[in-house]
């Protein structure tokens, strides 16, 4: 029997179809708040189960366009997706990590054409505004999320979802969790600021020049496809974003006082 699960991230509903009830159970556990019922999906992926270790487990992620279809491959999955037909096919074992990666890749491709991106950043909402804390591993994304006071709502501690909506940039909650191991709240808010994290002995916010902001943001934007046109679009998105949203360095000592500087 076919099961269909719709997962809406960043306001974009994507349906996953499978015959495996165990996989549906995994999806429900993994995506909780992000699962929608009675929502028409923008895209549908059929998920075919294969045995673990069917593919080369050492293979890194590769994303490329072939005959009008995107191909995503990694050691634990193979996928193809036609944005035009709005359909895709995934081969993976029944685990949450592979589908998580396929969804991340799909969203990066969708966002690239609409001025948005996924950013290595934790993000949170305070007083109706979203704040992003960006950095690579060990920069402090999860630390700053853990230190958030009770009036702060976490959107993610790992991958922030940025969309351009009309004339402003919005941050959306994502289920893409880092060390915190918990999905963010499925809400959105206009982005007030981006902070580039640096651990230090004291808390300080230092504004940076737009050129450096673009360079630093580009390092932290998740993008997997070998496609010059889309790479160019992502760069343009980062430039437009920096022109609209303040980007600063946040040197912080890991205790709760850092939040006195936010919001």
């Amino acid at each position: 029997m076919d099961h269909e699960v719709v997962i809406e991230i960043g306001g974009i509903p994507i349906a996953l179809q499978t015959t495996d009830p165990e996989f549906v159970r995994i999806l429900r556990g993994r995506y909780g708040d992000y699962m929608k019922s009675g929502v028409k999906s923008d895209f549908t992926f059929r998920v075919n189960m294969v045995a673990p270790d069917t593919f080369n487990p050492e293979a890194d992620a590769e994303v490329w366009l072939e005959d009008g279809e995107w191909r995503f491959e990694r050691g634990d999955f193979r996928a193809r997706w036609s944005p035009e037909k709005r359909q895709g096919l995934i081969h993976q074992s029944a685990n949450p990590y592979s589908i998580d990666s396929v969804l991340r890749i799909t969203h990066t491709l969708l966002l690239a054409r609409t001025g948005g991106f996924l950013l290595h950043a934790s993000s949170a909402v305070r007083n109706g505004k979203a704040y992003l804390f960006s950095g690579l591993s060990e920069a402090g994304k999860t630390t700053i999320a853990r230190l958030a006071p009770p009036d702060v709502t976490l959107l993610t501690d790992e991958a922030s979802y940025v969309r351009r909506v009309r004339d402003q940039y919005m941050a959306y909650g994502t289920p893409f969790a880092g060390e915190l191991g918990e999905p963010g709240k499925n809400i959105s808010a206009p982005i007030a600021a981006v902070y580039l994290l640096e651990k230090a002995r004291q808390n300080r916010v230092v504004s940076i020049e737009p050129a450096e902001a673009i360079q630093r943001l580009m390092r932290n934007i998740l993008f997997f496809a070998h496609d010059p046109e889309l790479v160019r679009l992502v760069f343009e998105s980062a430039c437009a974003f920096v022109a609209a949203v303040p980007v600063s360095k946040l040197s912080f000592f890991p205790d709760q006082r850092v939040w006195d500087l936010i919001g």
Binding site: I214, F223, P228, F235
Partner: protein, 103 residues
């Protein structure tokens, strides 16, 4: 025989954005990012494939920054070598024709 001229042309495999008098350039091949200072930005903008580097230095860089030609030439050569190494800038001892767009 006079020394050969050097001609520069911007690669088409890049994305670039000018911000004030600085320029951010990204290779769309390997996503390497470069930040050009005001001098680098002037050379970058003047790299049209037809203007020799010596003329760019004399007429643009030295005129703008009041720096001796010898020093500007040495600095420019380092800059050109670095960008050429990443195929951001194309370098030739002959004028470089523009790349035709494939229809």
């Amino acid at each position: 025989m006079p020394p050969a001229e050097t001609y520069l042309a911007r690669s088409t495999d890049i994305a670039a954005r000018k911000l004030g008098d600085e320029t951010v350039i990204m290779s769309t091949v390997d996503s390497t990012i470069f930040m050009l200072n005001p001098t680098g930005s002037i050379i970058w903008e003047a790299a049209d494939g037809n203007t020799p580097l010596s003329r760019i230095i004399e007429e643009r860089v030295c005129a703008e920054f009041d720096v001796p030609v010898e020093q500007a030439s040495a600095d420019a050569q380092d800059f050109v070598d670095q960008l050429a190494k990443h195929a951001i800038l194309l370098v030739s001892d002959e004028p470089i024709p523009p790349v035709k767009e494939v229809p």
